[in-house]
């Protein structure tokens, strides 16, 4: 069972939820930019949430399914079609061998996810299938997907097989069939342009001028073209520290907002380095990583301060929603 890449799209990579345990070796976590979107896609095809899928950036690839497969598309709305007909996101879809997936106009958000029942089955490296582009390992040959690539898929789980059985019969003579149900709205939000991103104060927040602290939460920042899987360079009112002196490098993570000497912040994303030496003014909350991952170049974003207690309450609420979806699918399609 496999997928063939007919056209690669802008930046299409194999990702799972990341490579943990090796940051002390300087090895970055990588993984999906929008983890919630991949987790939902995986649940919809009966996979473990951490199974590897395909991350698609803005201009989607063209992919042919080389076997009868169960798939799900989540994240950004990039006008997906199957054999030329629009297909719904956020639901299981059965496709017959030979069906072609393509994308059109990017309607909302930046990153879409394709999960296949059984998961993308490239060999794991250091416990993960995520692509580490700069070091050239993980994913498929450590690089973005290209035309002609053939991506292996694993075997569906028992839940995946039941979903397939339920959908394949409704396809009749069509090359694909989609489920009529989706998860609740909390797990399939439409990416909003110019979003408000919630954050907690960072470890060096107190080192910034009071006016800067105030401006940080009230002024918009524009996402500059220097924005990729490693981080987004933002442009806004200059942020000024009241203390001088170099900082000793310490850990940084997904969502860390660091401020180099020039005063324009950088928010770190999935391919963030493991340590950094710039003051950390804020830390985006985990529950808003998805919204952050879906921001587009040129859009504005606002930071809104929340307490750590709120941030963790939102984290737990998101986990509860994902667990409820998993239980729901297992109840209907489990053995």
């Amino acid at each position: 069972m496999s997928l063939s890449i007919l056209r690669p799209g802008l930046l299409t990579t194999v990702q799972d939820l990341g490579r943990f345990g090796y940051q002390q070796d300087g090895i970055i976590v990588s993984g999906t930019m929008d983890a919630r979107a991949l987790r939902v896609a995986n649940l919809l095809v009966g996979n473990a949430e951490n199974a590897a899928g395909v991350e698609i950036t803005l201009l989607g690839p063209k992919i042919r399914f080389e076997a009868d497969l169960l798939i799900a598309l989540t994240g950004a709305h990039l006008s997906p079609t199957l054999d030329g007909r629009p297909v719904g996101q956020h639901r299981p879809v059965w496709v017959a061998a030979g069906t072609e997936l393509a994308f059109g106009a990017p309607v909302a958000g930046s990153r879409a996810y394709l999960a296949v029942a059984g998961g993308v089955a490239v060999a794991p490296v250091l416990g993960s299938r995520s692509t580490y582009l700069r070091a050239g390992f993980g994913g498929l040959h450590g690089r973005a997907l290209r035309s002609g690539d053939v991506i292996p898929c694993g075997a569906p789980t028992p839940v995946g097989r039941k979903l397939i059985a339920a959908l394949a019969t409704t396809a009749a003579s069509q090359s694909w069939a989609q489920a009529a149900w989706t998860p609740g709205p909390a797990l399939r939000p439409t990416p909003q342009p110019n979003p408000t991103i919630r954050a907690v104060a960072g470890p060096e927040y107190g080192e910034f001028m009071p006016e800067t602290q105030c401006a940080f939460w009230t002024q918009p920042f524009t996402v500059t073209p220097e924005a990729d899987r490693m981080g987004y360079r933002l442009q806004g009112l200059g942020l000024v520290r009241q203390t001088k002196g170099e900082m000793l490098s310490s850990a940084v993570t997904f969502g860390t907002v660091q401020v180099p000497a020039g005063g324009q912040p950088i928010v770190l994303m999935a391919d963030h380095q493991t340590t950094g030496g710039y003051p950390r003014i804020a830390q985006v909350i985990s529950a808003d990583f998805s919204a952050l991952a879906q921001v587009r170049l040129g859009q504005q974003l606002w930071f809104q301060e929340v307490s750590l207690y709120e941030a963790q309450a939102l984290y737990l609420a998101q986990e509860r929603a994902l667990r409820a979806l998993r239980r729901g699918i297992a109840t209907v399609f489990g053995s």
Partner: protein, 248 residues
């Protein structure tokens, strides 16, 4: 569970505990680089590596900090408690024992062979001119100390080293090179390090090691680890070639 919970031990005065967002906590053992701070980091790191608590995802040591990444859901006991309070309480409880963990004073000494100068160290003359030393003296002073690996960061396997001879300090190149080969040994200000991957870079290159610092196929993918000691050993070009064949 005892009916009357015992009060939590207070943190040792030298230790600060603070969150890095909603899924990480930082232990800071000092504000400047010192052997005492380094030993505290290694002690707690060793303790938590041997006895990780449920939900601990990974540890990242740095110059004065040890950052712990945790799974808030697991720490919340299935959504029942605020995770940060629980992880902070846990750390307060275990820190006295963790800090008392003996750190092996006989830290491993790793020798890194380096072919200095020539094509491998195109900036050796720059460093010599800047420092007013001869090229031979630069090599002698660079290969004399026992460096301490403070942390691995910036890139896979890239060591931040402490212990450089202050006389060797030389500013970075004004124009970074578009591509520095893996194994290049450089100086930037009062820092020295080894490029572990081919990357753009502005350090003054004084030599190159034939050893790989990083390989994702090794069980421990970085050759060097925080806490180790390191010495550079000058080698000839012939030895470099021989070792390189051996490495590949």
């Amino acid at each position: 569970m005892s009916p009357t919970p015992e009060p939590l031990p207070t943190l040792p005065a030298s230790v600060r505990l603070f969150p890095l967002g909603d899924a990480a906590v930082v232990l800071e053992f000092g504000t400047s680089i010192s052997p005492k701070t380094h030993c505290a980091i290694q002690a707690v790191r060793g303790y938590l590596t041997q006895q990780p608590f449920a939900g601990l995802r990974e540890l990242v040591p740095a110059f004065t900090t040890l950052t712990l990444y945790y799974d808030p859901w697991q720490l919340s006991d299935n959504g029942r408690y605020p995770p940060y309070e629980r992880v902070a309480a846990l750390l307060r409880q275990l820190l006295p024992a963790a800090l008392a963990t003996a750190v092996s004073t006989e830290a491993t000494l790793v020798e890194i062979p380096v072919c200095y100068g020539g094509a491998f160290g195109p900036d050796l003359a720059v460093v010599a001119t800047h420092t007013g030393l001869s090229s031979e003296e630069v090599v002698a002073r660079h290969s004399a100390p026992e460096y301490l690996v403070h942390l691995i960061g910036f890139a896979p396997g890239f060591p931040y080293l402490g212990g450089i001879d202050a006389r060797l300090a030389t500013p970075r190149r004004t124009q970074p090179r578009p591509l520095v080969p893996a194994g290049a040994v450089g100086i930037a200000g009062a820092q020295t390090g080894i490029y572990s991957l081919p990357t753009p870079g502005g350090w003054q290159l004084i030599g190159r090691t034939p050893l790989r610092l990083f390989n994702p196929e090794w069980p421990q993918p970085s050759r060097l680890q925080a806490g180790q000691h390191l010495r550079f050993v000058p080698i000839s070009e012939a030895e470099f070639q021989q070792l390189q064949r051996h490495e590949s």
